[in-house]
């Protein structure tokens, strides 16, 4: 129960009215004083009673995409035998206004119900925009009332109205990426044949050699020639993708949705989605406060796992990007394409280039996305050639990397499909 200042003001008026009534032998003064006392009593006791014997239910999706609108269905049931008036429903919705304010735990007003007859149910919908990716805990829904005069507010939190909501990063369509294949993968024993149409194509037969995948033995020909014969394939799209995300704190510039991290995560999610659609293997590595490591895999379930991880990724790490690249270099397969999201401060360029050289030496292809840091600072006027002229960009070109430059406000769809 929270008393408002007008309660004390009315208390003062009531005391003055009683004082006047006792001084003047007048019934009207007594009645006015009684009316003020009645207002105080009803203002104090009624709200507390109004929020009792009510049940609230909130139903809504548990997953959504950034930028989508989600609809929550609210149901309020009056289990009492008298009507309820001027009920206010509040909810803890940390994702509302998260783009501007960040994750906020303040109560949001879902709506007010002017009158709820006894035993009745009131249903309504609340449509909200999922502004920022993340994992959010919603609830509890609170019921409040300051009926009738707003002198005091009674509030209670309802049970069983907790819920979680995962908002996945917004992805943009990618038609094609300049990825390189990994021809050495196809005949390894651990690999099955590519499943997707066009992933590999039959090119001929030859005699079996030590180390060939026994699954590729063509038994009818073997029986006919009395010699082990294996099928040969022409690899067409057996590219593998390694997404290296930089979660160092100083690599994230800007605020809200227009920070470099948000762009990086959007790109990572979109590229992972592209890999999933193309039936490619993909994996993710990042060093935040905790290491984000998603093993190689493909398919929708794998993509879901990547989205789950990217939804909660935050720039809370301290490890320089060079460490991440070095670890990838030690584990990557020859021919694997590594997606680099480079937004770290310039003083680390030398170490990063060294790690990239190691990565290249392991036979990995580099697909670098360079963030124009200056453009992400609030109010900054970016120079178009600042990134192109940087030593990092020059080094990447020397290493044969495919480079893209991203600035704040860029249309990523156009950038990746041009």
């Amino acid at each position: 129960m929270r008393l408002r200042s007008r309660f004390w003001i009315l208390c003062g008026f009531a005391l003055a009215a009683y004082s006047a009534a006792i001084s003047r032998e007048q019934s009207l003064a007594w009645f006015l004083a009684a009316l003020m006392s009645a207002s105080l009593l009803t203002g104090l006791l009624w709200p507390r009673w109004l929020i009792q014997r009510l049940s609230v239910r909130r139903a809504g999706p548990q997953r959504a995409l950034e930028g989508d609108a989600v609809t929550f269905h609210i149901e309020v049931h009056n289990r009492g035998w008298l009507p309820r008036f001027m009920l206010e429903l509040f909810d803890q919705l940390p994702f509302v206004d998260a783009a501007e304010l960040g994750v906020n735990q303040g109560d949001k007003l879902l709506g007010g119900i002017a009158s709820l007859p006894a035993g009745s149910v009131r249903r309504f919908e609340v449509s909200l925009l999922c502004e920022k990716r993340g994992f959010y805990r919603l609830g509890p829904v609170s019921l409040a009332s300051s009926f009738p005069l707003g002198l005091a507010e009674a509030r209670t939190a309802t049970k069983h109205t907790f819920q979680s909501l995962t908002i996945y990063p917004r992805v943009f369509p990618i038609v094609s990426l300049p990825l390189f294949g990994a021809p050495s993968q196809i005949h390894r024993g651990a690999y099955c044949l590519p499943e997707g149409a066009g992933a590999a194509e039959f090119s001929g037969m030859r005699e079996y050699r030590r180390g060939d995948n026994p699954r590729h033995v063509h038994w009818p020909t073997t029986a006919r020639l009395n010699e082990l014969m294996v099928k040969e394939f022409e690899p067409l799209a057996s590219a593998c993708l390694y997404i290296a995300l930089d979660l160092a704190k100083d690599a994230n510039i800007g605020r809200g949705q227009h920070s470099s991290l948000e762009y990086a995560i959007r790109i990572a999610a979109s590229v992972a989605g592209y890999a999933c659609r193309q039936n490619m293997h993909s994996r993710v590595l990042a060093q935040g406060a905790e290491t984000l490591r998603i093993a190689s895999g493909k398919g929708d379930f794998h993509y879901q796992g990547i989205l789950d991880a990217l939804a909660v990724a935050d720039s809370n790490g301290r490890a320089p990007y060079a460490e991440v690249i070095t670890e990838i270099a030690l584990n990557c397969l020859p021919g694997e394409t590594v997606l680099l999201l480079l937004a770290e401060p310039p003083h680390r360029d030398a170490a990063t280039l060294q790690a990239l050289a190691l990565l290249r030496a392991q036979g990995a292809y580099l697909f670098a996305v360079l963030f124009d840091r200056d453009s992400f600072f609030p109010g900054a006027i970016p120079s178009k050639n600042a990134v192109r002229n940087s030593p990092l960009a020059a080094g990447l070109l020397e290493l044969g990397a495919h480079c893209l430059t991203v600035r704040k406000g860029d249309d990523l769809t156009r950038l990746f499909n041009s």
């Binding site: 032998e25 007048q26 019934s27 004083a33 709506g111 007010g112 009158s115 609340v126 005069l149």
Partner: protein, 454 residues
């Protein structure tokens, strides 16, 4: 808090309040026969000016200000040419105040202006009610005025809050039922206010000084106040005093000035006053009939109640000491119960009790026989879970408490708790008596829970 547009019912409430406030004043001069004409005039003035105000609240323009000035000049002219010669001060000043309010009505578009309008109407009513000619017959205008004022105040508050909610809320549950809410709030405040008024002893300083302070006259100043025209000064003072006597003589008991409620004879006399509106006279006659019949019906009941009251007073005088002891014992018992409940919530007391439970029930097995033993084991289990931050809510039954345990504890703890709960329910609600085997099982389960929880 937003500056919201007032809605039409609030203007109606303000109109009713202002008109009834002026009616209270006009009623004082009902003997002169101009009551209906006055009411017609004020209805027109307040109706037109509030209509202009309502139009302004929807679409403000310069017309409201022009109307305000026009009504103001008209009011000043009336004051000089009509009110002053007719009534003199302070009544003429009061009607000037009413005209000023009427001019202000033309630009009344916000809650603050609406409340100011109500305040002015209250000033008019207070003036009328404190007049020496004000008696119980004025209640026909005073009571509706209070209802209208409360309705308008409550309506403005609820409408404003509803508007704020609509503007700031994420959803749109619908604002249906606001009218019902306003009526319910008005009725509740009037009912509680009326009840408080009825039970409040209406004492005054002279009475308190006489009763509890120094010896003084029983009602010093009261007579002066009434006979002197309610403290008013002005042209009509000398004549008014004489008329007050006349009023009292013909049954007009000044109930608004602390008088008694009239009897049926006095009511009928009031209904026959000259120029009393016909509907009011008929209503007073009906009230007198009702009062008579109610008195006939209630007389035996009242006599019975009076006898009972006398008997109660006599009994209290005879047994006052025993009663005092009884009250003290009740207070002590209540305090002991509260203390027990309070101690039961202190963590270290719960810890000690749980150890005692284990020693008494778990180690020595000194439980009561039958259902009481099952209760002891179940209560001991509750204490164990209270220690882990899971006390049983006063409203939770055994199943709900078990559901809470399920959310918080491991499978092995849950299994023991579920079995102990089942045995407790069996002992508590089953037809057959609790066997030794069941109590033994409960003891084993309790011991297991104690070890798991430790």
């Amino acid at each position: 808090m937003s500056n919201v547009t007032l809605f039409a019912p609030l203007y109606l409430g303000l109109f009713a309040a202002q008109l009834l406030a002026v009616a209270c004043n006009a009623f004082l001069d009902i003997g002169y026969g101009g009551f209906e004409r006055e009411m017609l005039f004020w209805s027109f003035v307040f109706g037109v000016t509030l209509y202009v105000g309502w139009r302004q609240s929807r679409k403000p323009n310069a017309l409201g200000s022009a109307w305000q000035k026009g009504v103001l000049f008209f009011g000043l002219a009336l004051f000089v040419l009509v009110f002053l010669p007719l009534w003199g001060l302070p009544r003429a000043g009061l009607y000037l105040l009413a005209m000023l309010q009427a001019s202000y009505n033309c630009v009344t578009i916000s809650g603050r202006q609406l409340r100011l309008g109500l305040l002015v109407s209250l000033a008019l009513v207070l003036f009328a009610a404190s007049h020496f000619r004000a008696d119980w017959t004025m209640l026909f205008y005073l009571a509706p005025y209070l209802v209208a004022a409360v309705y308008t105040l409550v309506g403005e508050q609820i409408h404003r809050r509803g508007n704020d909610l609509r503007q700031t809320s994420l959803g749109r549950p619908g604002g249906k039922g606001q009218g019902v809410a306003i009526l319910a709030a008005t009725a509740a405040i009037m009912f509680v206010g009326g009840s408080l008024y009825l039970i409040t002893p209406q004492v005054n300083w002279p009475y308190l000084e006489w009763r509890f302070g120094q010896q003084s006259l029983r009602n010093p100043g009261g007579g002066i106040e009434q006979d002197g025209g309610g403290g008013q000064t002005g042209a009509g003072k000398a004549d008014d005093g004489g008329e007050a006597e006349q009023n009292r003589g013909r049954g007009g008991a000044p109930v608004l000035l602390g008088g008694h409620w009239p009897n049926p004879r006095e009511m009928r006399a009031a209904a026959r006053r000259p120029h009393m509106p016909r509907w009011q006279a008929a209503a007073i006659d009906r009230a007198a009939d009702f009062s008579e019949s109610a008195r006939q019906i209630l007389q035996p009941v009242m006599i019975g109640l009076f006898d009972w009251w006398e008997w109660l007073k006599r009994w209290l005088r005879e047994h006052w000491f025993a009663l005092l002891l009884g009250v003290l014992a009740s207070i002590l018992a209540a305090m002991l119960i509260a203390l027990r409940a309070w101690i039961g919530e202190i963590p270290w007391v719960v810890w000690l009790l749980s150890r005692w439970d284990y020693l008494n029930l778990g180690v020595f097995g000194r439980h009561s026989a039958g259902e009481m033993g099952a209760r002891q084991y179940y209560r001991a289990m509750e204490r164990l879970f209270t220690l882990t931050g899971l006390p049983r809510a006063p409203t939770a039954n055994t199943r709900e408490y078990l559901a809470d345990i399920r959310r918080r504890h491991r499978e092995d703890v849950l299994r023991s708790a579920a079995e102990l709960t089942r045995l407790f329910e069996q002992a508590r609600y089953a037809a057959q008596p609790v066997g030794e085997q069941s109590q033994h099982s409960m003891r084993q389960l309790y011991r297991a829970l104690y070890r798991l929880q430790r």
